[in-house]
């Protein structure tokens, strides 16, 4: 819109009006001085940072490197698995960012030269930067489980990065005969979206209840407790007969199975210490996680595979000038969630703008909320408002604020939380990708 207006303006005034030309030129001068930011990853953290950098200082030169032509959100992807949503309803494009002047480069960052301040891509391009934002999300750690390989995901999907994996798992669930068993292998901490595996179990159970009554979900967990455990098990009791003989969901703790020995895509089996080899019709293996691999290539990760950062700027503790945020970062006590990544993006963008202008970075403010949908008209949430605590170097929840939906929330409140979860989806996507 503004582009058209400007062009029309130039056309009608010609190049003659020197005074007008001078006002128009002002942003261009600022542009040269404003600085260059290269963002790696167009997911929640990267896209939010790019958008808020442009909103805060439109003169900044912002390049976003992302291999995917469009992005499928993990949030609400469990609704796709349950048949409540189509793939197109979790797809976000980069058009909004483009229209703000963010340069979108369809490529994969292959490495970062922190000394020379350059990002190299798999496609052979090099991008110089004043500040680099690394937001590659997660990758998987397969060691410790026999038989686990990257290639098995074609048959045993992780569906923990949304996209073709989500579509594949949905197809398998649709093809599964009634009476079949669906196994979710839930990951150890820390991982992306702590309530995610349990929301997934709920929404697939809902699908079974409506379409494949004799089928069942078995969660083989690598933990002994999980996020929103009381709310989930309460919902499962209310909706899916949990802990009865006819329960649609069975949850097995790590202690009860003694741990997972092997997973085999050929025989479709999961082997545990206590249970031996067990055959399933569909298996969803959600592996242990680390920061997206580019972070370790760039030397940004700690011994556990995550990136330590200054929690007020998200600047790497390893390399100056590189900011890491979203799931890849250690942002204790914020969980690895979409809302966290979005919130961190705004803190990071403000810090970069201020740092580039030689100003104090300012006091950050952060929020997280994770909505979960357990069935029709049955939603609940966990929320927190955070401040940076310098003494402990943590992003600490404000005492008295935040917390869970009460266990005895009314049916009407649970219904509203679903309605508000859908609103959250639309609003956070708009706030992230424009």
């Amino acid at each position: 819109m503004s582009k058209m207006n400007r062009r029309n303006f130039l056309k009608t005034t010609g190049g003659a009006a020197v005074a007008a030309g001078a006002t128009l030129a002002a942003p261009t001068i600022a542009n040269a001085a404003a600085g260059k930011v290269v963002v790696i990853g167009g997911g929640v953290a990267g896209a939010t940072t790019a958008r808020y950098l442009k909103l805060g200082n439109s003169a900044l030169d912002v390049t976003l490197i992302e291999p995917k032509a469009s992005y499928h959100t993990c949030f609400m992807s469990n609704e796709v698995l349950g048949g409540h949503r189509k793939m197109s309803q979790i797809e976000q494009t980069f058009d909004g960012l483009k229209s703000m002047g963010v340069k979108i480069v369809k490529d994969t960052a292959a490495g970062i030269d922190a000394g020379a301040k350059k990002v190299k891509t798999a496609g052979g391009s090099t991008f110089g930067y004043d500040a680099c934002v690394v937001a590659p999300g997660i990758d998987f750690k397969l060691d410790g489980i026999n038989g686990a390989t990257e290639s098995m995901f074609d048959k045993i999907p992780h569906a923990w990065k949304a996209g073709p994996q989500t579509a594949l798992l949905r197809k398998q669930l649709e093809a599964m005969p009634d009476g079949g068993t669906f196994c979710i292998v839930a990951p150890p901490n820390p991982f992306r979206c702590p309530p995610g595996p349990y929301e997934r179990a709920s929404l697939v159970a809902d699908y079974f209840q409506k379409h494949k009554k004799k089928s069942k979900v078995v969660i083989i967990d690598r933990k002994d407790k999980f996020s929103k455990m009381g709310l989930f098990t309460g919902a499962w009791k209310n909706l899916y007969g949990y802990e009865t003989d006819n329960s649609l969901i069975e949850w097995r703790s790590a202690a009860s199975t003694g741990g997972i020995e092997s997973i085999d895509a050929g025989s479709m089996t999961v082997e545990t210490l206590a249970g031996g080899k067990e055959k399933f019709d569909v298996i969803n293996f959600i592996p242990a996680q680390t920061a997206g691999v580019v972070a370790s290539i760039a030397g940004l990760t700690n011994a556990k595979g995550w990136c330590d950062v200054d929690k007020t700027t998200f600047e790497s503790k390893v390399h100056k000038g590189i900011h890491v945020l979203g799931d890849a970062s250690v942002a204790t006590k914020m969980p690895k969630s979409g809302y966290s990544a979005n919130s961190q993006g705004k803190v990071c963008a403000a810090a970069i703008i201020n740092m580039m202008a030689g100003k104090p970075v300012g006091t950050p403010s952060y929020v997280n909320t994770c909505y979960s949908i357990a069935g029709d008209d049955y939603g609940f949430s966990v929320a927190a408002v955070y401040r940076y605590n310098k003494e402990k170097d943590i992003i600490a929840g404000v005492k008295g604020a935040g917390g869970l939906t009460p266990g005895d929330a009314s049916a009407e409140m649970r219904r509203r939380e679903v309605e508000f979860a859908y609103s959250w989806y639309n609003n956070i996507c708009k706030d992230t990708w424009g």
Binding site: S343, T369, G402, S423, N426
Partner: protein, 209 residues
Amino acid sequence: MHKSMTYALAAGVLFGLIGVSSAQASDAEASMLANTCNGCHGPDGVSQGPAAPTIAGMNKQYLVESMKAYSEGTNRKSSIMQRIAKGYTEAEVEKIAGFFAGKKFERVAMQNTDSGAAGKGKAIAKDLCESCHEKEGFAAEDYPILAGQMMPYLKNNLMDFKSGSRSIDNNPNMSDKEKRKKKRALADLMEKHGDDGTNAVLNFYASRK
């Protein structure tokens, strides 16, 4: 100037890059604080729907009062705002409210409204609601904007007024006269016009562009 800011400025001059933060965090900028709301209320407080309310362009006083009522949690029950509102100090809420009051209430969500019902609702609204929610609900001076607000949100509120979980009697910001007037209007709407009439009024306000 706040002490830590002075320090930060000095450090900024010396080192260029800084990471100073105060534990009290009351010196966060209005935009920094307000942007934390956008994930649920939409960029600049303009909701994309279907249910979360737009808070852009509401009068500042109403925003402050709402945050206070939510955080106290007795006169205004909520699904989540109680947990959120408690996270901000009064001074911060002032800043946040000022920020959103300065934004434009935009009507961008595709709301499915029934034009027949909206037409019927227009007459009822004129009769019962207009004297406070002026200009067909577009007015923002004294009361919250209703025109173009999310219909499910408006509906929830009518339900809450009726059940008392959003208490009119205990609202410290309304005069006794206002309370009586509001209760009479709501009773007329729900009793005289019933579910159909109530639904018509909701459609009328939600359909305002």
